[in-house]
């Protein structure tokens, strides 16, 4: 709480405008000549900047004279930084963009249309990337970005506790997942069956896909599809039966719940395997991963980020060369080893470096049946409304039909904007 927030926000908004006013057309992206400025997203604890510099050292030696300037951008500041770059026209040559921001950035005209040049780089052919990520590359038939790293979700479960509940194999279908959670809950005491994270916007999406539907149609979203209601009702049934704690993501400690066995199942991403190994070594060998259960399909969500070339870049040729280098199998594998982020290139995903680890293997399998969130520019605002509605139903106990109807109206208001 600081008395200055509005003032600071206003100032920030204004400085964006001022930046535009001053930047105008004279802005230059990156630097001149053979220098390439690259913005790499970095996590709070991450070391992505220096690691990326090492990754591109080879590129520099193969292309003498080209100098790569790497600038790590913390994920929390990504939107501010990119908005400032758009406003001033003074951005990098190559920028890493999270998939949720990509449609809006493409719409703003900040990324260069790569359609004409991409053909001369076989590394950038769409069919080299994992199928679920391919739709991210194009908007209105033009190519604006190339997948870089991917992310997905899978089911984490305690093998020992599920075996006790009669599940030697992880649950494969919705009915089995519900049944397993019910049996685990029956252990009594403080125990739950599963931890479902209502704050996760991807959970209702995944359930919708698994029910055989999709809220994304005709370049917009439609929450009136029957499969979405089915998905929300399924998610809600875990809450009404008390099978999952009624807590949000930032509050429920899934590692602790997993370690103690209070919540012996949860849905999460690759980063969680490392967290469990480090924070709960005592349950090593007592847990495993499985594909998302599902009836029609076992689809999970595909996230990650892509690389684009800033529209004001003066070295687009060099930038594309760099993108091609970063899409090579070896580079993708080297980045996986350095950062633990899953590759986007199918060939790299099939490499023993990943598949020899049983946990990572599940994620690579899951990626083959994974879909991206609806690539519309208002998705962030829409997802917020969707998560709010699901939260009102599951935690607030609101009526499903009424809540979804008002969600539908609200979302049509947002998407028509």
């Amino acid at each position: 709480m600081r008395r200055t927030r509005t003032a600071a926000t206003t100032t920030a908004l204004a400085s964006l405008l001022l930046a535009t006013a001053c930047g105008g057309g004279s802005g230059t992206a990156g630097s001149d000549g053979d220098t390439l400025e690259v913005w790499v997203m970095s996590s709070q604890t991450g070391n992505e900047g220096p690691t990326f510099e090492q990754l591109v050292a080879d590129f520099e030696s193969v292309n003498p004279g080209t100098k790569i300037e790497v600038q790590p951008i913390p994920w929390e500041n990504a939107k501010d930084k990119i908005a400032t770059a758009v406003a001033s026209g003074d951005g990098p040559d190559v920028v890493q963009v999270g998939l949720s921001l990509l449609p809006e950035l493409v719409d703003s005209g900040a990324l260069m249309d790569l359609s004409d040049e991409i053909g001369s780089h076989p590394e950038l052919a769409a069919d080299r990337f994992v199928e679920g990520a391919r739709p991210t590359m194009q908007t209105d038939g033009k190519t604006y970005s190339v997948p870089w790293v991917t992310d997905t979700r899978a089911l984490f479960y305690r093998t020992d506790l599920l075996a006790e509940a009669g599940y030697e194999q992880p649950p494969q279908t919705w009915a089995e997942l519900k049944d397993a959670a019910t049996k685990l809950k029956a252990r009594g005491g403080k125990n739950f069956g599963i931890s479902l994270n209502v704050g996760d916007q991807f959970l209702p999406l995944m359930f919708t896909w698994q029910a055989g539907g999709d809220v994304h149609r005709d370049d917009t979203v439609d929450f009136g599809v029957p499969e979405f209601k089915e998905a929300v009702a399924y998610e809600n049934s875990f809450f009404t039966a008390g099978l999952t704690p009624k807590a949000g993501p930032w509050k429920y400690d899934e590692v602790q719940g997993f370690k103690t066995g209070v919540t012996p199942m949860f849905v999460s991403g690759p980063w969680m395997t490392k967290a469990i190994q480090e924070q709960a070594p005592e349950i090593n060998g007592k847990w495993a991963l499985s594909l998302m259960p599902g009836d029609t399909t076992r689809t999970a969500f595909l996230g990650g980020s892509s690389l684009g070339v800033f529209s004001k870049s003066k070295n687009s040729e060099g930038a594309l060369k760099l993108l091609a280098y970063l899409s090579q199998k070896d580079t993708q594998l080297a980045w996986y080893k350095a950062s633990n982020a899953l590759p986007a290139v199918s060939e790299a995903l099939a490499d023993p470096a990943l598949t020899s680890d049983p946990n990572t293997k599940v994620f690579t399998e899951q990626l083959k049946q994974a879909k991206i969130a609806p690539p519309i520019k208002q998705w962030d605002a829409v997802a917020q409304e969707m998560t709010r509605a699901v939260e009102q139903i599951t935690i607030g106990g609101a009526d499903i039909d009424k809540t979804l109807a008002s969600l539908d109206t609200k979302v049509s208001g947002l998407t028509s904007r």
């Binding site: 709480m1 600081r2 008395r3 200055t4 927030r5 509005t6 003032a7 600071a8 926000t9 206003t10 100032t11 920030a12 908004l13 204004a14 400085s15 964006l16 405008l17 001022l18 535009t20 939107k79 501010d80 908005a83 758009v86 406003a87 026209g89 809006e104 950035l105 719409d107 703003s108 005209g109 900040a110 403080k190 704050g199 704690p245 009624k246 807590a247 949000g248 930032w250 509050k251 429920y252 400690d253 602790q256 719940g257 209070v262 208002q378 962030d380 605002a381 917020q384 709010r388 939260e391 009102q392 935690i395 607030g396």
Partner: protein
């Protein structure tokens, strides 16, 4: 720096902050050399004050007035990310952002939440910091000096670090607070999971964090009260309570006024606690107006709509502060 100025801009025009008034009234032209007398004449002629206030006025204009004017301008447009890159894409939408704001249930919710936060926070900070200051003022031993530093510590600790620690304390299943309660056989409290409770939890944390600075202000004011008053009262047989009621509190009137005004402005802009701890949830129970503005502008790039929101908040703050100054003046006149 823009921050302080941002805070100061909220002082209604034509109203000199009382601090400045009392400071000015103490400046009497120093008798002495001719040069000094000439300088004093120049001051009276009225040039020098402008020279002295010029730097802060320029900064105020650059970081206060201009941004506010720009925000007002933007609030009548549909500026978004696309518009930032290409001005020809920006449209004037008149009052559309404002009408949308008054129809937006989330904005209503955030206003209500902010009112609740102010209602909990301002009296909370006032009572806690005044009580702590009165207790700390009872002695000046080494222990008390150390305690003073201790109470100030939350004010200078990074909010992210605070959020991490309080996040652990408030954790429903494994948090320290609920562990302690379970020892007393009290059921686990859903500190941040329940919409109603989470507002109290955030207010509690913010009171804890915001009191340190005000304790210092009250301590300074307490130490400025001449001890003769207390001696005289004691001779007349006034007890502890009477001395507090009829000497201490009246003498602290200005300090209390100052603390109330600054705290109220701060809590009307309640932002960091929900931003780092709950992100406005659960069920939007902790979404304050500032958080609403931030999310609209920087998560959804709806700069026009966000500017309209921040302008409404700005007006609310001006009105509330003006009312306070007015009632203060009425009190002084009485």
């Amino acid at each position: 720096m823009s921050i302080d100025i941002g805070g100061r801009k909220l002082t209604p025009t034509g109203e000199q902050p009382p601090v400045a008034q009392s400071a000015l009234s103490q400046v009497t032209p120093a008798p002495g050399t001719g040069r000094l007398r000439a300088a004093a004449r120049a001051v009276r002629r009225g040039y020098h004050p402008y020279a002295f206030i010029a730097p802060s006025t320029l900064l105020l204009i650059a970081f206060g007035i201009v941004p506010i004017a720009l925000a007002l301008f933007v609030s009548f447009t549909d500026l978004d990310l696309k518009g930032l890159g290409d001005h020809s894409q920006v449209r004037f939408v008149g009052l559309e952002n404002y009408t949308r704001l008054f129809d937006d249930p989330l904005f209503h919710r955030s206003v209500l939440n902010t009112v609740i936060f102010v209602g909990l926070g301002v009296p909370g900070v006032l009572v806690v910091s005044l009580t702590v200051a009165l207790l700390l003022n009872t002695a000046t031993t080494r222990l008390f000096r150390w305690l003073r530093a201790l109470f100030f510590l939350p004010s200078i600790t990074n909010i992210v670090a605070i959020a991490v620690v309080w996040g652990y304390l408030y954790q429903t299943d494994y948090g320290l607070l609920n562990q302690l309660l379970s020892v007393l056989h009290i059921d686990a409290v859903p500190w941040l999971d329940d919409p109603e409770t989470s507002r109290f939890s955030l207010a509690l944390m913010a009171i804890w964090r915001g009191s340190g600075l005000n304790v210092m202000i009250f301590l300074a004011a307490l130490q400025a009260i001449p001890t003769e008053y207390y001696e005289a009262a004691a001779l007349d047989g006034a007890g502890r309570w009477h001395r507090l009621r009829y000497i201490t509190l009246p003498m602290l009137r200005f300090a209390i006024f100052f603390v109330v005004v600054t705290t109220l402005i701060a809590w009307l802009q309640f932002f960091e606690e929900p931003f780092v701890l709950t992100n406005g949830g659960p069920l939007d129970a902790t979404t304050s107006v500032s958080l609403f503005i931030y999310k609209t502008g920087f998560n959804h790039f709806e700069y026009g709509y966000a500017s309209a929101g921040s302008f409404v908040l700005f007006l609310i703050i001006i009105v509330v502060t003006a009312i306070q100054f007015r009632s203060r003046r009425a009190e002084l006149d009485a």
